[in-house]
Symmetry: C2
Subunit: 325 residues, 2 copies
């Protein structure tokens, strides 16, 4: 188990103390506990389950976090992320028998909705008359998936979707989630695909009103967001299996940075993606070596997450066996 220095711990405490509190905290915590309780009591023999194993629960984080530049926020810094990775991974985790808590940036790609066009209400439907709606043949599979498969996953209590926007919301929700999952132990997983801001303007030093455009340039000083993976691993949910992500635009430094993150945060695997090739391949970096995972290029429907989640689930199975008490 990793331990973190007092300095980092102080930084983290002061981040949370100065954060605007989560508005719907009670509601979030109630939903989480209900979902975890429902799934922990299930033992329904999915093929991945070991004898006597409880249902596995994974928290998938998805999309970018925003950093407000003003307290009454008009401007903010955002991290690019469509949420496709998190959404596709969620579908694959559900298929593999997991219960998924999908912690996603509001407005980003939703599980089972990847195949919808950008403008679904303009393109997918027709009204032959004022009473009847029809799905256009060209989009029938996409709509069926978005409605039937998604509703089935939510209806069976296998998918809980929780939205965030700011870095403050995201990190507070992640903490609540880790706390709520503590008792699930090695059967829980954190799959941290969200693009979390590295820099932010501390709430207390932020201007209340919209920054005025006067004359001349604007200088902004951003502080580093404390890396919460350390405390997630050491304190919040030390027994959970933990996968983090590294995105770079420069392939030359990608594997080196991913390896450093593996060592520094003591996660079980780091998924390394390069911005331009991330839909074709990723590299899973772990203490047992680096594995390149590609999509099956001979199948047009195939996505890299199909093979990625298969590998991650295997690794998680090994981890549960080793940590079974």
């Amino acid at each position: 188990m990793s331990s973190i220095s007092g300095l980092v711990e102080d930084e983290i405490s002061s981040f949370f103390e100065s954060s605007p509190p989560l508005k719907n905290k009670e509601e979030v915590v109630a939903k989480l506990n209900q979902f975890i309780e429902l799934n922990s009591s299930r033992q329904d023999g999915f093929n991945i389950c070991l004898t006597g194993e409880k249902r596995r629960i994974v928290c998938v984080t998805s999309g970018g976090t925003t950093v407000p530049l003003e307290q009454r926020c008009v401007r903010y810094i955002d991290n690019f992320s469509s949420g496709n990775r998190g959404a596709a991974s969620t579908e694959n985790f559900v298929k593999a028998g997991y219960a998924v808590i999908f912690l996603y940036r509001r407005g980003t790609c939703q599980p089972y909705c990847r195949s919808l066009p950008d403008d679904p209400f303009l393109e997918c439907f027709e009204f032959p008359d004022a009473k009847n709606i029809r799905v256009r043949e060209s989009h029938s599979e996409a709509v069926k998936m978005a409605v039937m498969d998604q509703q089935a996953a939510v209806g069976e209590g296998r998918l809980l979707k929780l939205p965030f926007s700011t870095i403050y919301e995201y990190l507070q929700m992640l903490r609540e989630m880790a706390t709520a999952l503590k008792d699930v132990g090695p059967c829980s997983m954190f799959y941290l695909a969200a693009a979390v801001s590295d820099f932010y303007v501390p709430w207390n030093s932020m201007t209340e009103h919209k920054i005025q455009s006067g004359s001349g340039p604007l200088d902004i000083r951003l502080a580093q967001v404390p890396k919460m993976i350390s405390i997630l691993r050491s304190n919040w949910a030390p027994k959970a299996f933990c996968v983090s992500f590294k995105l770079e635009t420069d392939s030359k430094i990608l594997i080196e940075k991913a390896t450093k993150a593996l060592q520094k945060y003591k996660v079980h695997a780091v998924v390394a993606n390069e911005l331009s090739t991330r839909k074709e391949e990723v590299v899973v970096v772990s203490s047992s070596g680096n594995v390149v995972v590609r999509r099956d290029s001979d199948k047009p429907e195939s996505i890299v997450e199909d093979n990625l989640i298969r590998l991650i689930v295997d690794r998680h199975s090994t981890y549960i066996k080793e940590n079974h008490t």
Copy 2:
């Protein structure tokens, strides 16, 4: 007619020269010209038309622009804007007989889709069996509007939707639009509801790769985006009726700032909104005085745009009469 200084003109030229060029420029220009040609040749006696008047065409801009912080963009600064104002205004302009070019930020609210829930595919539909889709009673009006009304407007050639993301895309598209609308003269309108960035990082001084989070704070210097409304008014489309927007969080400075903008950019009206009350009321600031426009609070369905667009259309009618050649 307004004129702009050589200094501002130089700033604007250098902004465009250093911008990454619009990727789909030919496609955008072709769509624009086709739409304008179709509507200019119509003279179909909507109640707002004066004798011999051609169909009015309004360009509604909507949503916030992004400012990339890296050339291969991972991080960017964004301006908060749901796009609700632009979407609702578009519906009202179509209803009033206008043809609308809706220049919107990708992912923001679409015309006729305001009443859909956040998660429409999870909430609006059901599949009683694998063949038939049904709209849930609770959302039938919202879905009908999003599909039927939207498709009707697009199908009749009354609505053209064009998306943007960055400030570079937005300003280049606005310039193309103004150029394409030049011949429509006083019957054209610019209704500039988009939240345009005031500050940006000039493309040439931008880092190519993702900014690394090392140790210590990050300092960013942002330059002012040249105000394009001046050149829109003076050079691009000097005969068009022009409405701009001012959003502030501090009500104390709002009207003063709006009045200054009216004088400085010589637009025909400035719609002043305060962030917290913008759905209840706005103030239309013009040389004929300030008018407070409220939603009809006794009708639950009423939105402020119903009354706002009525007023703007009236003002446009007067303008056309005065400038009829």
